[in-house]
Chain length 252, copies 2
Amino acid sequence: MNSTAGKLYGLGLGPGDPELLTLKALRLLQTVPVIAYPCSEDGTSVARNIVAQWLRSDQVEIPIPLPFRAQESAAPYYDRAALKLRNHLDQGQDVAVLCEGEPMLYGSFMYLLNRLSGHFDIEVIPGISSTLASGAIAGHPLTYGNDILSIFPATLPIEVLRTQLAKIDAAIIIKLGRHFHKISSLLGELGLDDRALYLERISQPMQRILPLAAVNPAEVPYWSLILILSDRTPSASGDQSLGLNTSENALD
Amino acid sequence: MNSTAGKLYGLGLGPGDPELLTLKALRLLQTVPVIAYPCSEDGTSVARNIVAQWLRSDQVEIPIPLPFRAQESAAPYYDRAALKLRNHLDQGQDVAVLCEGEPMLYGSFMYLLNRLSGHFDIEVIPGISSTLASGAIAGHPLTYGNDILSIFPATLPIEVLRTQLAKIDAAIIIKLGRHFHKISSLLGELGLDDRALYLERISQPMQRILPLAAVNPAEVPYWSLILILSDRTPSASGDQSLGLNTSENALD
């Protein structure tokens, strides 16, 4: 560990609405001299866009291009990015990596962390994940009482998903993209479709919340999700008066 | 729906550090005239304590006493609280209910929502849940690649937990309290104890992160949790250099 080195921050930015940044993430964003963020090949960065209003011209920016072609290894991309961050850290500059959602949940930050951990002081600032925010955004509780809540990537094999989804209390299925039709069919087969809600671009201006039947599978972005409500709550398409069919005992 | 009525907000405050409030929660906290919060019988409110520095003397405060004795029904407590909130909403006053963590995840706000939904305009502001923040706080990724992440209440029957935990990728076990010994023994039996970390009072001044063996079961608060790391990551007690044994393919 280099004691004169800079500190590395992983800044969770939340699901997209700049107002869903934490006070801590905003403070660090405004004080750290070097800001890094993942971007696509053309330089577009969703993470940077979330906080663009607060970035200053005297801050150094490090775009981290990531591959978006299926099956291409991202390892060389992370290797190159880690080297760039290391150069700044070695010079004693703090570096903040911007992370959509929660950095430690299915995030690309983990692959930079893997490469720099042990060499530098690192702090990860939690952010609001679109997964758990989906209930608040849709206006439906995620869990009641002793419910188990599971998060499934839609990229899992169909047999795994069929077995696992058959016995859920409540679930969130992420990384939909081109897997939407597979998931939607499976939920129909399992009788879960009337407890399911589709959410896209949560908290952003283009946010959409739809029943599964209203979704065009050809237009499903990768970062969309399906929320499967606890069966202790009324159906997603049901009325807003949730009723009192819930466990309301005190803490046990 | 009463169109001249006030609006009800559920404000997610995050796990305890006031800096983990979102900008949106802080803005609403400072503009809504009536602030309600759960409290214990002696009036202590963890939620109010998180934001005490921002409350103003011209804001009306509504403490919501909740029972903390096991097996006592909370329903009459929520009935009384809903009636108080309704009185303010009917007079056209906006009301914000303070919620630790994420309001829609195992939160008491849901029981107020059930009682007031359909009658008033309601907006829930997501907050950072200590569950998903545990990875950032402990410095360990929660999930890699296609991992499934599940959240289990420790209050579930032991047989259910044994079956479910035997096949997890990664998990978070909440509501430990007096169930700690049961859970800790089960994790030992399942060979999961070396992937487990205990976290208490996440992001608060008294925060503690311990291996299971170092925990005194008699001192485990209700709102503590055990994080079980993905087995694609090194053990919780292992070195900080996480290595590259992870899936790093591009989006698929």
